[in-house]
Symmetry: C2
């Protein structure tokens, strides 16, 4: 089975399929159909079958996919079959919400460190994680943290990214709507709430 040359858009959808599969597992469903997944996730069954076709044949037509096997395959493709440690920088409202988020573990992701500049926050525990001084970001390399989340104000986002890259991180999820420059080997994914909200009016019929 070949895992290269998968379109980014397919990779973007795989974790969504994974969410549907994890839910099906919880419900005790041994098999799922592309139609069932599609209904649950709000995508087209055609899209699901097309995305899966990049990885070989996961299911039998009319019988559906084996939930457990497909879950394992997708986790393997996404490299979620091994655990990943994640560092959060910025424990304001957004950062606190991230620390309180219970959904990471299902994907093998663990928030292992949190940093802030505010001396009143440093040393305190939020969502089970002790907040450290941002100057300790450099310790992430030996702590084997490879992913980071940036939830700092816009004007310090680039500086934060630089520090994370210097500490050896290879993937960054940024909540900052500004552009962040990193070396080509580092992947940045941006969550911009305004951008997602801006997609909605297109679907709203004129009243």
């Amino acid at each position: 089975m070949r895992y290269h040359k998968i379109p980014d858009e397919t990779i973007r959808r795989l974790p969504i399929y994974l969410r549907g599969l994890l839910f099906s597992s919880e419900q005790g469903q041994e098999r799922v159909s592309s139609q069932g997944l599609a209904d649950f996730l709000g995508v087209s069954p055609w899209q699901i079958r097309k995305d899966f076709s990049y990885f070989g044949d996961f299911g039998t037509r009319g019988v559906g996919y084996k939930t457990e096997k497909l879950t394992k395959e997708i986790k393997k493709i996404l490299k979620l079959d091994a655990a990943h440690k994640v560092a959060l920088v910025g424990v304001g409202n957004l950062g606190s919400a991230v620390l309180a988020h219970a959904g990471f573990r299902s994907y093998g992701l663990e928030i292992a460190a949190a940093f802030d500049t505010d001396s009143k926050k440093i040393g305190k525990k939020v969502g089970g994680v002790i907040i450290e001084d941002v100057r300790k970001i450099s310790t992430l390399r030996r702590r084997k943290v490879d992913l980071g989340i940036i939830a700092v104000p816009r004007d310090t986002a680039q500086k934060t990214a630089d520090a994370l890259v210097k500490a050896g991180l290879k993937g960054i999820l940024s909540f900052s709507p500004c552009h962040i420059t990193v070396p080509a080997k580092v992947k940045v994914i941006t969550i911009d709430i305004a951008i997602d909200l801006a997609r909605l009016p297109y679907y709203v019929p004129a009243s």
Copy 2:
């Protein structure tokens, strides 16, 4: 110019292009190239040209696109040429971060109402918006609010969506990782932080 039958994936990318164009405008750039936009946004210039091809010809090869004209066109396609009022439900850490977010206005989106169940929060002002009792969600219809953001705990997400739909809202942005059932005429977009984080390991080279 025809605006129908545009793939969802293209619609998903248009606000991202819009962000790039708004930035170019701020910088005083009268023209942008697909390559320039691509570099800034981290997408391929081929993808940009393909997406724009759905709406007719925006630019001249080698000369680039006119920033202002293209901005207007995309806003029109996304129905962002008229202002939209948005209601937020749930003013916890995440909701407070949404209220503090300064980026909505550039897209003609205004957070016009915020709701919570906590009597200690009701009546207080966060990010310039007075927090109201969730039981007042029904007033949104006459206040001409057509979009909603759900930032409530997972177990009340569906109930919140029901109330928003009943109040006439046509588009919902949900931060709840669970599945929400709404009538077909209502569009739901989900932001699941875990899902976005789960995409990163794929791009991380094995160390």
